[in-house]
């Protein structure tokens, strides 16, 4: 067993016992990146020198007896849409190809304080818009389980890096499924926390009312450990909730007796992938076997989720992405005759086609005469979708669904048809609209040896119920221990 194979908590134990050093772990991970990233292409930027310096600093802290922080000395990858001071942050877009932020995102600042080692900035769909990482402005990340398949998206690089042991844990961001769907595709654990649980300060905005940062890890324990560092109120983010963050590791309990799990009938539809359905039903059986109660529930407005999402998310995006205008930073087109031409050329050349499509959609939805029919209607539908969940959570603790309708699809399979691509997020999108937390964790494999993800949802600010159910399931199964052959 190589060091890079291990989890955060396993390595933390070894560091505490003096069985290894952060530098050794870091070199192991950097070596792994050198060995496999030509194939996987998970990273836009690998921060080897910074990682070594941080590892040495961590080793000095440990030597001085300061080893309490579980993240101390652990190599972490941070999606390339979170600002890292002095380190290029591109959002996988040509328009920010050479952008070096002058400040750290709040999550980065917290992780730095905890002693993490930053090993790099993983690839993603440009500005987090996509479900396959095929929309990256630079290159496509491959699924470590099958290099001809997509790793999911938009946090495809973060999930692939974890699955391929090119980091020990990572951060992703999730606007409509961008943590959970890639976690499902790559056979790892991904948690989208409650909206407001983790500060968005320094996360380059896609859709402000939906975006949320969360961990992508090798197991549920590591998710709890990362949550302990990144969760909590931030005065720099007015939408971050002023509620105390719990110790998420307290929810790591094997006993789920009496836990009530709801199965929404709208998520088990005719024509869904039979292998995915079987894996989910088996997982629910396992949880039942562990003592959980399972009931069928209904989320009647689920049908409207995708339409609602693509109106609200694109509306916000059209405004959030207005700042990339070639004036202050980022890409500026040459040879523009006047201001208007500078704007048009910079944005036409700097943005990729999916980003442009969404800016146009959102601009249209907000236009005079259409606002009422689209944006406003979308907000009303959003309220109904949220109420569906509120209602169901009166009687259950956790909702279980598939994370995605299929396992990872082939590169190129859906990229020509944006609507087909949008439907890969059909089971994850409602969760962002409602603002509730959701996790994907491995629950089986297809005959073709592709991972399948189980999605668990909880009430607002009750990530603990999810972590509890997920941990109990994980401890009763072996899926999370499988590794792709690379």
């Amino acid at each position: 067993m190589e060091l890079y194979h291990l989890t955060i908590h396993e390595l933390h134990d070894m560091l505490k016992k003096g069985e290894t050093t952060s530098l050794a772990i870091t070199e192991s991970v950097l070596g792994r990146i050198r060995a496999v990233d030509d194939k996987v292409k998970a990273y836009i930027t690998v921060t080897g020198d910074i990682a070594r310096a941080q590892a040495e600093a961590a080793d000095r802290r440990i030597k001085a007896g300061d080893n309490a922080s579980p993240l101390l000395g652990i190599p972490i990858a941070i999606k390339d849409n979170m600002c890292t001071e002095g380190i290029r942050t591109t959002c996988a877009s040509k328009i920010l190809e050479n952008f070096v932020p002058p400040y750290d995102a709040t999550v980065v600042r917290k992780l730095n304080k905890s002693g993490m080692v930053l090993c790099g900035k993983p690839n993603m769909d440009e500005f987090a818009m996509g479900s396959s990482t095929e929309n990256s402005g630079f290159f496509i990340t491959k699924n470590p389980w099958d290099l001809e398949r997509i790793p999911g998206g938009s946090s495809g690089g973060s999930a692939a890096a974890v699955a391929a042991d090119e980091c020990i844990g990572s951060l992703g961001s999730d606007t409509g499924g961008s943590i959970r769907q890639p976690a499902s595709c790559c056979g790892v654990v991904g948690l989208k926390p409650t909206y407001g649980r983790v500060s968005r300060y320094g996360l380059v905005a896609f859709a402000s009312s939906l975006d949320q940062i969360g961990p992508i890890t090798k197991d549920v324990t590591d998710t709890a450990l990362l949550m302990n560092v990144i969760a909590g109120h931030d005065p720099k983010d007015s939408t971050s909730a002023n509620v105390p963050a719990p110790d998420f590791t307290k929810a790591l309990k094997k006993d789920v007796k009496g836990l009530k799990i709801g199965l929404p009938k709208e998520y088990f539809i005719e024509g869904m992938d039979p292998e995915v359905e079987k894996a989910i039903r088996d997982a629910v059986k396992t949880l039942k076997g562990l003592g959980a109660k399972v009931v069928e529930v209904s989320l009647p407005n689920s049908d409207y989720a995708v339409a609602t999402y693509y109106i609200l998310a694109t509306s916000e995006a059209s405004s959030n992405l207005a700042r990339y205008d070639g004036v202050k930073y980022g890409f500026r087109a040459q040879d523009a005759k006047d201001l208007l031409e500078m704007y048009m050329k910079s944005r036409s050349q700097g943005f990729g086609s999916e980003v442009k499509r969404r800016i146009m959609l959102g601009t249209y939805a907000l236009s005079a005469g259409y606002y009422e029919a689209y944006y406003k209607k979308g907000q009303q539908a959003r309220t109904l979708i949220k109420r569906d969940f509120d209602e169901v959570f009166k009687s259950v603790d956790v909702i279980a669904t598939p994370t995605a309708p299929t396992a990872a699809f082939k590169i190129g399979e859906k990229s020509a048809d944006p609507l087909q691509m949008y439907l890969s997020d059909i089971f994850t999108i409602s969760v962002n609209l409602a603002g509730i937390p959701g996790m994907s964790l491995p629950c089986g494999f297809t005959k073709g040896n592709l991972p399948v993800g189980l999605q668990l949802l909880g009430r607002h600010f009750n990530e603990e119920a999810i972590i509890h159910a997920a941990y109990a399931y994980e401890q009763a199964t072996e899926w999370h221990k499988r590794k792709p052959k690379l």
Partner: protein
């Protein structure tokens, strides 16, 4: 034909907070370009706004001083347009739910008191400044001013003459100075005025088509620009033409207004609720506490002077245009003929019961966002 003029004014007043509206940068001017900036006010990727508490206090104070209804629930909206001095590509402003609505101020014209209605007062951020080098040179952007807190004060179309417009602006300036929320210095650009002007045949009930005159930066110019614009519109109508809805700029050297853009070319600002800020919630206690900080205002003082000293409205009005207290001056209050009127009397207290009436409960409606736990988030740098 004889025409009646209808004027509504939009005033942008800079709030005299120590820091900007959404970040901790100083609101200091005349400094080197781009030295009073941070990632937030220059619109870096990933930054978020945090509302300055003082700015909310100041607008509530202004609303109370101008007899407005203070909304217990209001929110920010994004006004989207591209311009180099607007770093985010949108201005954070207010649209559907402003902080203050339905107020008024009183002016004295020809010895008579006239009430000018206020439609609304809302908060917004200022833009930066573009500096154009001579022919062939570059255009530069200074963002020191970006994010400076502004109040937009919108009047009802109650103003009928350029003189009334001028009196209204003077009264507004006096109030803002009395309550110490803005130095309201027009020359410094801290008190800017756009005018909506239309004319209609005397006796007509319908409003005529209006033109918006922008960029008028002194009291003298406001009057001149309005006089010019009224004459221009009358000429158009007398010649059998139609006034077109457009935005015009005032050229103070030539003394004329000229067309900047027509209605067809007008921006579609695509307003929508600002998702990065939670709604502004103002409690009754807050409104009451702010109410207590309001001194005797020009109108009350004018009435008192008129009553106590038997002053004509005009004199009482003149004496109350600045906060400097004539009663505390060397010789007390004087008539225009120089005769002293007497010593200071007790001040009239603001009716603090007004907070109740001023606070109107807002239906939260279908804002559709998940409920946020915890109070509205504000930054307090100003309190230090």
């Amino acid at each position: 034909m004889k025409y009646e003029t209808v004027i509504g004014l939009e005033v942008h007043a800079q709030l005299q907070t120590n820091t900007k509206i959404f970040c901790g940068c100083e609101t200091k001017f005349g400094e080197d370009a781009n030295t009073r900036t941070c990632p937030v006010c220059i619109g870096m990727p990933g930054v978020l706004p945090v509302l300055n508490k003082k700015a909310v206090e100041f607008i509530v104070k202004t609303g109370l001083a101008t007899h407005c209804t203070i909304s217990s629930y209001s929110r920010f909206a994004r006004k989207n347009y591209f311009y180099p001095d607007l770093p985010k590509g949108y201005q954070i402003s207010q649209y559907e739910l402003p902080v203050c609505e339905k107020g008024h101020v009183e002016i004295v014209v020809d010895g008579k008191v006239k009430r000018i209605g206020l439609t609304r007062i809302h908060l917004e951020e200022d833009a930066g400044k573009n500096l154009h080098q001579p022919e062939g040179g570059a255009s530069l952007v200074d963002l020191n001013r970006a994010g400076t807190p502004l109040m937009e004060i919108v009047s009802e179309p109650d103003i009928r003459t350029p003189e009334e417009a001028s009196e209204y602006l003077k009264k507004l300036r006096a109030i803002l100075r009395y309550i110490e929320v803005s130095d309201a210095d027009m020359e410094k650009g801290n008190f800017r005025c756009d005018a909506n002007v239309s004319i209609r045949p005397v006796g007509a009930k319908e409003f005529g088509t209006r033109a918006e005159v922008k960029n008028v930066n002194s009291f003298k110019f406001v009057q001149k620009a309005l006089e010019y614009e009224i004459k221009r519109q009358a000429q158009v109508l007398d010649d059998g033409g139609k006034v077109i809805q457009e935005t015009r700029l005032y050229d103070s050297t030539k003394g004329v207004t000229f067309s900047m853009r027509s209605k067809e070319e007008a921006h579609d600002y695509r307003y929508f609720p600002e998702p990065d800020l939670v709604p502004i919630v103002v409690s009754r206690e807050t409104v009451e506490a702010i109410g207590k900080t309001i001194p005797e205002l020009p109108d009350a003082r004018r009435e008192r002077f008129a009553k106590e000293y038997g002053l004509p409205e005009y004199d009482a009005d003149m004496l109350t245009q600045s906060r400097a207290d004539p009663e505390q001056g060397a010789g007390g209050v004087f008539r225009r003929d120089g005769k002293a009127l007497g010593p200071a009397q007790g001040r009239i207290e603001l009716d603090h019961g007004r907070a109740d009436a001023a606070l109107e409960r807002r239906e939260q409606g279908d804002r559709g966002l998940p409920d946020q736990a915890g109070p509205a988030c504000t930054h307090d740098q100003d309190d230090q």
